[in-house]
């Protein structure tokens, strides 16, 4: 194959030390981002809640993440009785590994010279790079589901089930929000998508897609306002209730890496990737060359991470039925309609039709259909609306946790079939502790 430095074909031509170096740099970057974003999160949340936050370890408490990591590694590794040991061990690994892999296709910058070698600042690129990220995030679901199942605990199982349903639902809407970007970029490779945003960011051009992505991004990351899989008020810790020590650390790592990956993907697909923000490029022509783009990229990523933290500080948790309704009945239909609209306009402008006229008539039709469907939905459902706050009728005598919190009994008939003796004997009755 002929070696070039531009385009997708250029990625196969790096010398071995450069490929290894890139992988190492991405790994170190991710670990550092996790440590730093943990600290930033706790400090910012502290500020928002009128506290100080961690400030004891090192300057400004910067080494807090490191201290927590060492603490986690030195803790006792507890394996509960009756768990499926192989799967119990496999789950954190399956959770962490795909999180690392998806960052390999994120472009950090344009072509630069490293030790006299021209290369692009990106681990590698594929013609279908964005699909790789989606595939890896759906692999990550396995970590959560298997952790929930193998822990032999109802809290974990419920957390795992909630999480798998939530992530699959939101992943569909997320993939749909990418489709408009693919249509405009004419490619699924991240470097070409970034190159397509030289003049205008897709986040501006395709604002509805961007907004849908932001909402689904929250759903995918299992964070507030969609952190039901580990809602600590209901499920202790959700799927990782039974995990401790390094295994728990791996879940933690995976969660924060996913945060960074989702932010990086949003930057790449909607905020112009490593391109400098608009006012800078007009006054400084060199902003998009050399190593400067890495700075713009990092600024954008951290703006997203701050946004995540900000939302965590300001929003309450949604109810599970609200979450599912939002995902399936709002985000998906709107995405599909928006894709149809974008495709129609693209085709019409390519065929040379009058674009403004088309936009006006198309907009009016879609508005009428949308308003009509929502009105119909209101009329049809208003008669049989169930009040979610109504006290459900419950048989108080048969309730396993009378007067206490609604603790799921360990011997639920549909749960894990028959319990082994060891696990059943150690059950702690609820309400007395």
């Amino acid at each position: 194959m002929k070696c070039t430095t531009e385009g997708i074909a250029g990625f196969g031509c790096d010398p071995w030390w450069l490929i290894g170096g890139k992988a190492l740099v991405i790994f170190v970057f991710l670990v550092l981002t996790v440590l730093l974003s943990m600290w930033v999160e706790r400090r910012v949340i502290g500020r928002m809640q009128l506290r100080i936050g961690p400030n004891r370890c090192g300057p400004f408490g910067l080494l807090q993440g490191l201290a927590d990591g060492v603490k986690l590694a030195l803790k006792e590794d507890i394996v509960p009785a009756g768990v499926d040991k192989v799967v119990f061990w496999l789950a954190p690994v399956v959770s962490a590994v795909p999180a690392f892999i998806s960052f390999i296709i994120i472009p950090f910058g344009p072509t630069v010279s490293i030790f006299g070698h021209q290369t692009q600042l990106q681990g590698t690129d594929l013609p279908v790079a964005v699909l790789l990220v989606l595939a890896m995030s759906s692999m990550g679901i396995y970590g959560i589901v298997l952790a929930g199942w193998s822990s032999m605990s109802p809290y974990s199982l419920l957390g795992g089930l909630r999480s798998s349903a939530q992530m699959i639902s939101y992943e569909i809407a997320m993939s749909l929000s990418f489709v408009a970007v693919f249509m405009f970029a004419g490619s699924m490779s991240t470097s070409q998508i970034v190159a397509g945003q030289q003049h205008i960011w897709y986040g501006v051009l395709l604002l509805p897609s961007f907004l849908i992505y932001i909402i689904t991004m929250m759903g995918e990351s299992n964070r507030i306002p969609f952190d039901l899989p580990e809602g600590e008020g209901e499920l202790v810790g959700g799927f990782h209730t039974e995990y401790s020590s390094l295994k728990f650390a791996m879940f933690f790592l995976a969660e924060y890496i996913n945060l960074a990956t989702l932010s990086a993907l949003a930057t790449t697909l909607f905020l112009g990737g490593w391109h400098a923000p608009p006012p800078i490029t007009t006054i400084w022509a060199g902003a998009n060359s050399g190593w400067w783009p890495v700075l713009w990229f990092l600024i954008k990523i951290w703006a997203f991470i701050f946004f995540f933290i900000w939302l965590r500080g300001s929003l309450p948790r949604v109810r599970y039925d609200q979450l599912m309704k939002l995902g399936w009945k709002v985000l998906m239909p709107i995405s599909l309609g928006w894709i149809l609209l974008v495709a129609t306009i693209r085709t019409a402008s390519r065929e040379g039709l009058n674009q403004t006229q088309l936009l006006i008539y198309g907009g009016i039709t879609i508005a009428v259909v949308l308003v009509g469907s929502f009105a119909w939905d209101l009329v049809a459902t208003s008669g049989r609306q169930v009040d979610p706050y109504a006290e459900p009728e419950r048989a108080t005598a048969a309730e396993p946790a009378q007067g206490g919190f609604p603790v799921p009994p360990l011997d639920l008939p549909h749960y894990h079939g028959v319990l082994p003796e060891t696990a059943a004997r150690k059950e702690v009755s609820s309400g007395t502790h």
């Binding site: 699909l131 595939a135 199942w149 549909h414 749960y415």
Partner: protein, 166 residues
């Protein structure tokens, strides 16, 4: 045989071996996990044939959605940890015969249909979405539409089965 051939054959062995384990394992959830391994090896096989789009869609849909939903269904109903005694069926020899017959039909069709239709693997960009989309929506558009009607029928059937007040 080149290295690529060896890797391809190994992936095939993994896919078939995992598929056998799916039906022979005594642990219900492990069967679903072996199915993941089998689908993953199949995706690896697609990658070796430079069909990148198909490979990642295979991971995304089969590994990431179908088996996760399968696990979801198992866990909502009954997902025992450890071995289950009642996973064997008396029909296993009939099932084996049907499986072998199906495999025979599929292999024969493939071999007779594509006997000499070799495609070069070193063409850049042939595994991307564009060539695939062109061939699906231009040459093979009728089978594609028939398949979507089949899926629609399955969807309607599922709704009819699960709702009473229709």
């Amino acid at each position: 045989m080149t290295t690529l051939d060896v890797v391809f054959v190994l992936l095939g062995v993994v896919a078939v071996g995992a598929a056998v384990l799916v039906v022979t394992t005594r642990q219900l959830v492990h069967a679903a996990l072996w199915l993941v391994v089998s689908f993953g090896a199949l995706a690896g096989g697609y990658l070796m044939l430079t069909a990148e789009f198909v490979a990642w869609v295979q991971v995304l849909i089969y590994v990431g959605a179908v088996v996760v939903l399968l696990l979801f269904g198992i866990m909502l109903t009954r997902a025992p940890i450890g071995r289950s005694a009642d996973l064997d069926s008396g029909n296993r020899w009939a099932a084996l015969a049907v499986a072998l017959a199906t495999a025979g039909v599929l292999v024969t069709v493939l071999v007779r249909g594509f006997r000499t239709a070799y495609a070069p693997l070193d063409v850049a960009g042939q595994g991307a979405a564009k060539p695939l989309g062109e061939s699906v929506f231009r040459i093979w558009v009728l089978p594609f539409e028939v398949l979507s009607v089949l899926l629609l029928a399955a969807l309607v059937g599922a709704i009819v089965l699960s709702r009473r007040e229709i």
